[in-house]
Symmetry: C2
Subunit: 199 residues, 2 copies
């Protein structure tokens, strides 16, 4: 069809998450066709990212500085730490723009079936950090899956000796969600955690 350079470009693009072979071809064509507008700035951004982005030694976030912007921001409350599985979840929390504490990226959840044990997650480092930095509350924002909840319980148990307050995200109806489309588990969780309605 096309030369090996184009084929190799399409192959690399098709390896990105959520990009199939058809979109990869479309993206490759757009990149070739609009070289100065799309391709060159993308190469620039990728090269800069590869050269400058580090993993924050304190929380596990990606940033061009270590410790990261969030860990060094004096306006953020260092006495609250939110535990998330992944940097993607940290970004999702930041988009909600409601949380003003710091983070700790666990690097995943315990999963006996996939062979992920406590030693694969950054839990030791969390316990250490809580003991050292005067943390008052740890918020566990892990997935509401069986593995996520098991991990939450495990972390809470590990944190018990430090005396820190450990909380988890509430379960319930997603905002804008319709009852009809919700699974039974969410409905029963929302019913159990029902709250008085004020006037």
């Amino acid at each position: 069809m096309a030369g090996p350079e184009i084929e190799s470009l399409i192959r690399q693009i098709a390896r990105l998450p959520g990009v199939g072979p058809r979109s990869a071809r479309r993206i490759a064509l757009a990149l070739i066709k609009r070289r100065t507008v799309l391709l060159d700035p993308l190469v620039q951004a990728l090269t800069t990212a590869a050269a400058s982005i580090k993993i924050c030694g304190a929380c596990g976030n990606y940033d061009s500085q270590d410790p990261c912007l969030i860990c060094t921001d004096p306006r953020r409350d260092g006495t609250i730490v939110c535990v998330v599985e992944d940097v993607a979840d940290l970004w999702a929390m930041e988009r909600a723009a409601i949380y003003r504490g710091r983070y700790h990226v666990s690097g995943g959840v315990l999963s006996p079936l996939s062979g992920v044990g406590p030693e694969d997650l950054k839990i030791d480092r969390l316990v250490e950090r809580v003991g050292r930095d005067g943390v008052k509350e740890v918020i566990l924002a892990l997935s509401a899956t069986v593995d996520g909840q098991t991990t939450s319980h495990y972390i809470a148990e590990r944190l018990q000796p430090t005396g820190v307050v450990v909380s988890g995200l509430a379960h319930g109806l997603p905002v804008g969600g319709e009852l009809d489309y919700l699974d039974d588990g969410t409905i029963s969780a929302a019913l159990t955690a029902r709250r008085p309605v004020g006037y």
Copy 2:
């Protein structure tokens, strides 16, 4: 949220066709997380593509050589030329793996509303090529839209003095298509062009 390098990377990725801000974030994270496996080979492929891919002076295809592989392939029939709007359409024809002639990329279709006139398309070059290279048939494989069909008629008119045979792709049911989901135009075209069914 994240440093300016990550933000700029996400912005560049979100400009690719078919990639929204959410997928762009997901792709950026995957690239950062799996740098040696995803990011480095992608930069390599992009750089190589930018450095080596040219537009074929004969047909308008993208390739690392000019004239392109298709134009220089001695097994392909140089007396048949298929006119396509775009390199994407050329690739689509090649994927069908049925056509063994050469191509001519017009660069679009006539569109008075978008201000695209005959001088914006490579039609002069096609007429010249037909006169010079002993082309016997020109197959117009343009879109089955009003603009595409107008362009087909215009090209056929321009080619008339050369005496070349001009044909167009057939209209009808797509293979695997169900009547129920087809538009009226396609059904009436398929009915008009109905063929005897052999035993």
